[in-house]
Symmetry: C2
Amino acid sequence: MRPHVLIIGCGFGGLEAARALRTADVDITLVDKTNHHLFQPLLYQVATAGLSAPSIAAPIRHLFRGQRNVTTLMGEIVAIDANARTATLKDGATLRWDHLIVAAGATHSYFGRDDWAEHAPGLKTLSDAFEIRRRVLLAFEAAEREDDPVQRAALLQFVVVGGGPTGVELAGTFAEIARHTLPGEFRRIDPRQARVLLVEGSPRVLQAMPERLSERAREQLGALGVDVRLNARVTGIDAEGLDITTAAGPERLHSRCVVWAAGVAASPLGRALADATGCTLDRAGRVVVEPDLSVKGQANIQVIGDLAAAQSHAPGQPPKPVPGVSPGAKQMGRHAAANIQRRLRGEATQAFRYRDYGNLATIGRHSAVVDLGTPAGPLRFSGLPAWLFWLFAHVYFLIGFRNRFVVLVDWAWAYWTHDRNARVVAGAGLSEASPARDAQA
Amino acid sequence: MRPHVLIIGCGFGGLEAARALRTADVDITLVDKTNHHLFQPLLYQVATAGLSAPSIAAPIRHLFRGQRNVTTLMGEIVAIDANARTATLKDGATLRWDHLIVAAGATHSYFGRDDWAEHAPGLKTLSDAFEIRRRVLLAFEAAEREDDPVQRAALLQFVVVGGGPTGVELAGTFAEIARHTLPGEFRRIDPRQARVLLVEGSPRVLQAMPERLSERAREQLGALGVDVRLNARVTGIDAEGLDITTAAGPERLHSRCVVWAAGVAASPLGRALADATGCTLDRAGRVVVEPDLSVKGQANIQVIGDLAAAQSHAPGQPPKPVPGVSPGAKQMGRHAAANIQRRLRGEATQAFRYRDYGNLATIGRHSAVVDLGTPAGPLRFSGLPAWLFWLFAHVYFLIGFRNRFVVLVDWAWAYWTHDRNARVVAGAGLSEASPARDAQA
């Protein structure tokens, strides 16, 4: 019988690992909670009604249709037994494995304030994206029906918490929707009166970027109409808005649409793995892995992607933490697959080395920042050239030819018309509890 | 102050009525429960993962962006006061009107067996379509994890109740998915073993069609692999399947995915209108209207579309019921708008006359039936030519240029590859309670 490789999670890490084992003499089972691989870097476009869900999501089993050594199963792994070499699904079914790759990713963290979740959804899954889309679009609908100017202003104030790449993208796109997409479609409100705030706890946005590019991003956000609040700590979130504290003191922000892009926590499977193997978790719940990505004392278990607290080991340099970005997850996926093949050949595994090709973030139409490492030194640029670079890089990396083409069509259309193609909310979701009075007034 | 026209519902009828009042000297308020106009004839494509929701749905306020006399409001009208000339929204807000067009459409009817609804969703809204998509795709996922052959067969048996156009489209497309889209993607089941049943109470499918075309449709369904059960009465539906009675006696059909395409009931707003005006409702809850589409004794209230039990009045011919199809709703919408303009000019209203340009229904790839009225007599054809005719007619009538183009791209792709582009289910929805055992076996 061929060795059996179990891969948990089909994000960028799990997908690459399974692909890299294409020609290996192993049987692979790939388990994911959903039926699709998600192109996460464009998820904010689904949340902001620019793209439809199928444009950025591909059925996992379709991606592996031609790779005969892969069996795809939809389900959630809840426990791992390192001695028996099994994994247990939520319904109690078990899967045996000889080699295990855990790529279960991350989820939101509200820093212990889980009661904030219902008032400030995060953005990790398609369901999250639909919920944010619903809240943003229906806030404008409710404002059109609202006569009280104070309530109306609260409905037209949008707050994004967290100034990382996702927060910056969301805030920039919300501002674009208010300024360019919706004007002319309402009769009682002016969507341009909407305010978008970006609340960030540290002194700058996009902390992974060089300071100069953070400053450029802040300027571009300002030009799009986003009010950026730096050094601002969130102290409370409820159905009516949020409380922040800045150097100027406490402040109340009234809003019916708050989005959480601040905290990331490792998948609960990290805890399950620690229970099973005694491995160490870091503060964010990530599994601290060995240089070769394996779990301490468990040569047959590797952890990759956002669930791994991994180090990059370049010859002659001190180890450096691997950043939580998709190229990191993909490289770890390929590395884990290669390590399994080395072990099957009786060779020693190798330490993981992260190759950093740079960093890029988009802010809105014509706005982005790019930081590339080149042999001649760092190449940094922003504005329109950075935006074009970002656009083509993302379309290029999108899964599947057809998606790429449809996404390009959608974007070309959106570019010329300022329109957004997915402004559709399923169901009658408008809260009828809002104090709209005689809507005919 | 200009006369105020209130239009309730933005399906085909309400949309056409508002458009036809483009140049009229009136203020129009258009109220809909959702934020989008839905191109209902292609909703089955969303349910069967062929199209994404935004491809067939357009934001209502975007459609009326340029028509300045229209105010769009999202909300649900729950009561009408004919004397005070107001309509009440769910949250208690009221809208005044001088002329009222009620175009609230229809919903599913389970013939008094509302407990069947949870086991057999119908197809009227985008939410319905997502629910059917989820059930169909996840049935195959659960079957791949199922070891028990009896349970597996139940998971791979799909039942559509009702042989009208929607039922025929759904059954034909389910069969295509099983035979052409999914094979090769599973390792433990063969999707071609899936069975699709179409259960119809009468002796033929597509009853609105001439008998010969009904027979053609049945043949084409058979060729696609659909098992058509005619003269079959449904006596019970539960979580495990349904009970039917045919000439051969009672029969139990095991299925985890039953779709309801059998009964249509008028919107509950018909009842509200009857309470307000004393008008008559027919057995399906539709409002019996006067020849000019107005409500008896209420010249300022017109009812159109699926909510109206209307007659066509052709000169020299006895009145004929207007069929519940989209051309009927559109024509009624334009007629109601014209009647309002006649009244504003002090003229008499006119009786409605339905112009029947024919009838068409699709069954699946290369399969459709068409029945056209031409000056030279009826023109009837089926198979590939009918399918091409259906395809271009539907793409032509789709709302908005961009949608048409993207839908054509999606279809061209689906045509060549047998792939379906929207096979995405948001969230982890697979029932973990199914008795899958050691899924590794």
